[in-house]
């Protein structure tokens, strides 16, 4: 397994559950045992949950039935023909051989030109990122968040819960327009505003403003926008999306195109799109696979998919390509922002029709569905956790839209 986070850990666990009793090695660039990331923008950042709540319960490290963790060790290359991963870690450079490989290297944050030059500019992916950001928030700074995606919006909400002054800057006209559609974006913009978060929408970022005095030129003092205005801030969180971590696979002969390209059973394809080696699978944020339920290649950057796909990919790795089963989930994710819980199943595209199916948008308690032709392809529940499972079943069974459905 390369990548010792959620997907890597769950794949290892699934291999054991399916009866595999050979040696398992988990190679992870971070120095930590697998942990869970969603609280990093929510309870852990807020300070209401401690580090212990981030631990993932499985699998156990150690000899015998356990797993050999190579932490703080980065995979730097892959030789498919010789079945070896080249690594670089505390013991220097080396190689790890394998019969089967699970690629679970996830994603890393996209950065911004100049972001690395100034203190006070943060991205948020790892617990170490979060600890640094948390320490900076303790000083009661003014916060600017660049990007009103899921992580940016959640961080803004958490900073407001901590009583901080927050401004969110977003190039699109409303938050999350790409992921959820413009209509939903307007609702979420209202949520930000009602909680006292400043919004600068529809305007791009030009760059960072350094501190004015000689002593603080190394610190950020604000964000300059395309209209030449400046949002003053002591802490800037850059949340402009993530990119799949596939650089280490350069030259491996595997197909990389916005993620590691896989067939419906999560087996990685060869460069050019042909069948791959048959003993390499991918799972989690890094994997772009063909989901037969929607008939499209997709990559999902969410928690539940990492768990489900890791289990499916591990099972298929043991079965081999001949007996493998397609991975065809409706896909689910949630996001908690301020006092709003968003749950989403399915996969909508621009051009799908959005219909209010239940509840009231004004009361911020509703289910909206996305319809393509007659078919319900996705559903979004806002503060209606009781209803999401019913809609998940409809998306999974390719139900058609019928306003009389309850």
């Amino acid at each position: 397994m390369v990548g010792a986070s959620l997907a890597g850990a769950r794949a290892a666990e699934a291999l054991r559950r399916e009866g595999f009793d050979g040696p398992i090695t988990l190679i992870g660039a971070e120095p930590h045992l697998p942990y869970t990331r969603p609280p990093l923008s929510k309870q852990y950042l807020e300070g209401t949950w401690g580090r212990d709540r981030l631990e993932l319960k499985a699998p156990a490290p150690g000899p015998g039935t356990g797993v050999d963790f190579r932490l703080g060790t980065r995979a730097v290359g892959l030789d498919v023909a010789r079945r070896r991963v080249r690594v670089s870690g505390p013991d220097g450079a080396g190689e790890v051989g394998f019969d089967g490989l699970v690629v679970a290297t996830g994603c890393h944050p996209r950065t911004f030109p100049g972001a690395g030059d100034l203190d006070g500019v943060f991205t948020l992916r790892t617990v170490d990122d979060c600890d640094r950001l948390k320490a900076a928030l303790d000083g009661g700074p003014r916060v600017a968040v660049i990007g009103a995606g899921f992580i940016g919006s959640e961080v803004a909400g958490t900073c407001r819960k901590r009583g901080l002054d927050v401004t969110v800057i977003e190039a699109l006209p409303v938050p999350l327009a790409g992921a959820l559609g413009e209509g939903m974006g307007h609702v979420l913009a209202g949520v930000h505003r009602d909680h006292g978060t400043g919004l600068r929408l529809g305007v791009g970022v030009e760059g960072f403003v350094p501190g004015p005095r000689a002593g603080d030129r190394h610190r950020v003092a604000g964000v300059r926008l395309a209209d030449e205005s400046v949002v003053e801030a002591d802490v800037v969180v850059v949340g402009v999306g993530v990119v799949p971590t596939t650089g280490w696979l350069d030259g491996s002969g595997l197909a990389v195109d916005n993620g590691l390209v896989c067939d419906a059973a999560c087996f990685v394809r060869a460069e050019g799109g042909g069948p791959g080696p048959g003993f390499v699978v991918a799972a989690g944020d890094v994997a772009r696979w063909h989901n037969p339920l929607f008939g499209e290649d997709m990559r999902v950057e969410h928690w539940t998919n990492a768990v489900e796909q890791a289990e499916a990919a591990a099972r298929n790795l043991l079965r081999g390509p001949g007996r493998a089963e397609p991975f065809a989930p409706p896909t689910y994710f949630w996001s908690d922002q301020y006092d709003v819980k968003i749950q989403y199943v399915g996969r909508a595209r621009p051009g799908d029709r959005m219909v209010l199916a239940e509840g009231s948008i004004d009361e911020r308690r509703f289910v909206a569905v996305y319809v393509r032709g007659e078919r319900v392809v996705a559903a979004l529940a806002l503060n209606r956790p009781a209803r999401i499972v019913a809609w998940q079943q409809r998306v999974a069974s390719r139900s058609s839209w019928n306003p009389d459905l309850d």
Binding site: R53, L56, T304, E308, Y332, W334, K341, P385, A386
Partner: protein, 64 residues
């Protein structure tokens, strides 16, 4: 087997309900209810799946 949920962790994401609706139910009040605290042995694989899939690791199983 006894199903235990740590309600301090549970965020009502309803993933468990999607897997085993006869055991877990998130109701309109936004809270999770356990419908069967001692489900039959035949439910074990579904309960185990819910344990693994709960985003906050709120579910556990006690034997006996």
């Amino acid at each position: 087997m006894r199903v235990v949920v740590d309600f301090d962790r549970c965020q009502s994401n309803a993933v468990c309900m999607g897997i085993a609706p006869d055991i877990f139910e998130v109701r309109d009040d936004g809270f999770l209810y356990i419908l069967q605290e001692n489900p039959p042995e035949s439910s074990r694989s579904k309960v185990d799946e819910a344990v693994r899939s709960c985003p906050t690791q709120a579910i556990s199983v006690e034997e006996g």
